[in-house]
Symmetry: D4
Subunit: 157 residues, 8 copies
């Protein structure tokens, strides 16, 4: 099981990092591509065509008029998870560009920025867990640990 | 492979219908539940616990302060796809409630309303297609037909 | 009379502090809990169940898709006062998540951030003052002092 | 225990009705006043002064630049619950005017419109339930019935 | 001189009509295509490649996550004029998707809806007028008539 | 001719300063008051009653749920010019609170922040200029100088 | 004392009517002009130049990118009162275009639509009342009647 | 072929610079003017009248209530490209003022800020390329280089 992370700009490194780190925690294989739907559409298409045969799903990260997730979803039947970046307008432009897809081309949007990238990886772990008992256990542990951490914070209050 | 559709209110029938119809087109089994995260949290929990062992993913439909998708995602490690409903404020309240999930609990948001429900079903078809060649073919056909329809419209212009 | 302050994240310390300080000024007993509706729902439930029998009202502080106040209100019949935190989008996401509750589950929202936390404590002082003459006097003094301070500022202008 | 409902305009009758009906369901006494903070400030003051000695809390309903709840809260130490009306701008103007109160004058905002008025009454029932076992039982029943209704809907699906 | 009008959906007929009518008034040749960037990207590409060699500029009309104008601009060096459609959210989603293009791929956005489509045609008339004295005269007359109409309205007041 | 500047908070000093400086440039007499509509309503009333008999118009500066300009306008028949302050939400809350006054109580809103305070003073100079030839000359000069400055900038480009 | 009402479009008749009716109630002389800043700038200039010598202030009514009030204020030193029209985007576009004037050119904005037009007339009555005792009495009566009406509504409740 | 860049304020230097630099890359002649539609309307008119006979198109840069692009378009039949500046409100005020032009006066809006200024220049290069083979080649190269750069980034990942 492999994830392709495609990001619209190298400047979103810290967002990409969040997705990578989380996928690694779940031992999910990934590869990162930087490619802009607007400035390199043919290259995105090449990447997507390669991804279509070698990967199982796609994380697409983009800001502003964030066309990348929708563009990628148009050329693939893999599940595409979009992460809006807060480049301007506190991310509202990217959020609307990613969520308001027309009927027929699904993109699954996460929240804006780092937390969205982290959750994109988690969401994918959930998708893969259906066929992977180890992953399932890891997710259950992740959830358990989250709660334990919060319980601990309260003991120390 | 089975999908649980959980909707926060019976009044969202036309949104639910859109998801059902599309899942049927792809021969994906589903079951519909009406349950409000705010007005029947324990019942939602019961549903989610049942869903966790019998279903493969969840579509959660909600308007206003749309807590349902996030609530469901908290009690499950299944992938949760959220559909914001345009009950008030042209759906902006529901869109932000569904997308802006904190780090750790992923919800995959579709667009607002009917188109979002249709795309939720399509997204799930894409998820399942990884292990289902028939579904894969259907998705490829769906995409092909979409394009053919558009080409036909132009011939008739 | 006792207030439970439940905050969705330890990072909202300065918001929590504002509520604590104000409650102390009015000699209102309180206890602080850190618990996330999304990352530790069962723990929130435990807290709320304890709070239900030992406390008289709840302040719930949360940012982003701020489900905590509504979640708490679902499991309690105590009055719940919500404080939206400005984590992103200048707090608009949290404000809408907290205010736009469906019919049947009331959450009383204060303004965004520190001033909201201060006012949450004041609002609770007003609630308790119905049965507490000392508190009533303190509130009247608070109001009087606020006005006096403003009058003094003008004398010094 | 008595509630004063003050509404900024007679045209908000259907919003007022929602609050009245819900208070009646909980056998909570109330009296309705129509008074505009902007067009009849002295009259509002008169009402508030009377309310201060005879009532236990206030519901203030207003649209547009909704100053009424804050105005009322300035002249009272009773808890004030605000209901923003969707007169224009899908209620965003009223919501911000009611929630964004400065430090020192608390107003508890409900959601926009009818659901907000219903919840204002529920919130007040919760406030009074601390000293009223019958009310407490009614609230528990209300919550129970809400859930039962939802369960029934599912049986009939 | 020829204009290609590409619209994302047949349902935008009345918007397309506005552009057509105005181009006809200025005797500017055009051809209409219906093609969705998301549902028929390859067909859009085919159209754009044909347009690139036979047309002088492009009007791209789209709603929601309005990727069409940007997509078209990526595959062409012709000037692309975008018209956001008010499908949902009073057109804000389409407006931001069309205007917030990244550095490197220019799209010229008009206002939302019919007036935007009319102005798209006028803008193109201005572009072509540089090399076309007749068009220049027509534009000057258009402007003159606009003013005369307004003057006449006042005489009749 | 005299202007009363009433500001809701001492922290808006730099906004107040902008109004003062501009009034001084036009030799318009003024007096500054700090008084909060919410925290010192009676004091605002006292000020307004005094202002009503001794001043000719009022500048009211406020942020957040900016009730001050409307409150002042309720107790006066002097022209009230409001200046929204960018305390939070980039001033949108204050702008809507000041502009969206109900039918019957006029407040004239300037833009957000410093520029708004400067323009408030200019607007008042225009009001007074009807009866003051010197002021009229100063305004004409101001406008002339503005243009000259801009012309000079271009000479130096 | 005379008011010039300049409206950007004949389609705003019902907004214009509200201003006219209110001015008539206060026996304030006025004249209505229809002229668009964008479609007939020279005609607006002519009107403003005439208005400058014969009138005492200006009401400018406009929707969308509402440049008219600012344009008029640029060519006049009379006080200009702007009324944003809700043509699209619930009037947000017009409200921001009218309020966010740069430092140096003051426009006094009223609220959106009819209520704004009514208040524009009232604001002007307040401006003129400084030099007109009859007008002053009428304004005091207006305010008194507003309050009386509200008191009467309550007696009939 | 010559471009007039008109900017509403000298403080937008870094935005102007972006347009200049890009026009220079394409060997397009330009001249910069600083002139405010609101503070120097007659000077803008003078500039536009000169520009009308000597230039081929106009870039108009403005923030806040950004009237400049529309004002310029009213006095010209040249194509006008507007660039909204993020002076306040993250540029939303300027974006709406520039895009929401009424039917009859076209302004072509780019995105907010620097990227918008860059794209304004690119858009103009596209307009001129119709009659200029060298420019056409440069645009094709620009697009090619953009894609090559992105491909290189990936090789280095």
């Amino acid at each position: 099981m492999k994830v392709a992370i495609i990001s619209g700009s190298k400047s979103d490194e810290n967002i990409i990092y969040e997705a990578k780190k989380t996928l690694e925690e779940f031992d999910i294989e990934y590869k990162v591509y930087i490619a802009s739907a607007h400035r390199s559409p043919e290259y995105v298409k090449e990447i997507v065509q390669k991804v279509n045969s070698e990967f199982d799903c796609i994380i697409a990260i983009a800001g502003l008029s964030a066309a990348l997730p929708g563009f990628v979803a148009s050329y693939s039947i893999l599940p595409v998870v979009g992460v809006p970046v807060d480049s301007e307008m506190f991310g509202l432009d990217a959020l609307l560009s990613i969520t308001q897809m027309p009927k027929g081309v699904p993109v699954a949007s996460m929240g804006i920025g780092k937390k969205g990238a982290h959750n994109a990886a988690l969401f994918i772990a959930r998708m893969f867990a259906n066929q992977d008992e180890t992953l399932k256990q890891k997710l259950l542990e992740y959830i358990k640990k989250e709660e334990e951490n919060i319980r601990k914070i309260n003991e120390e209050l």
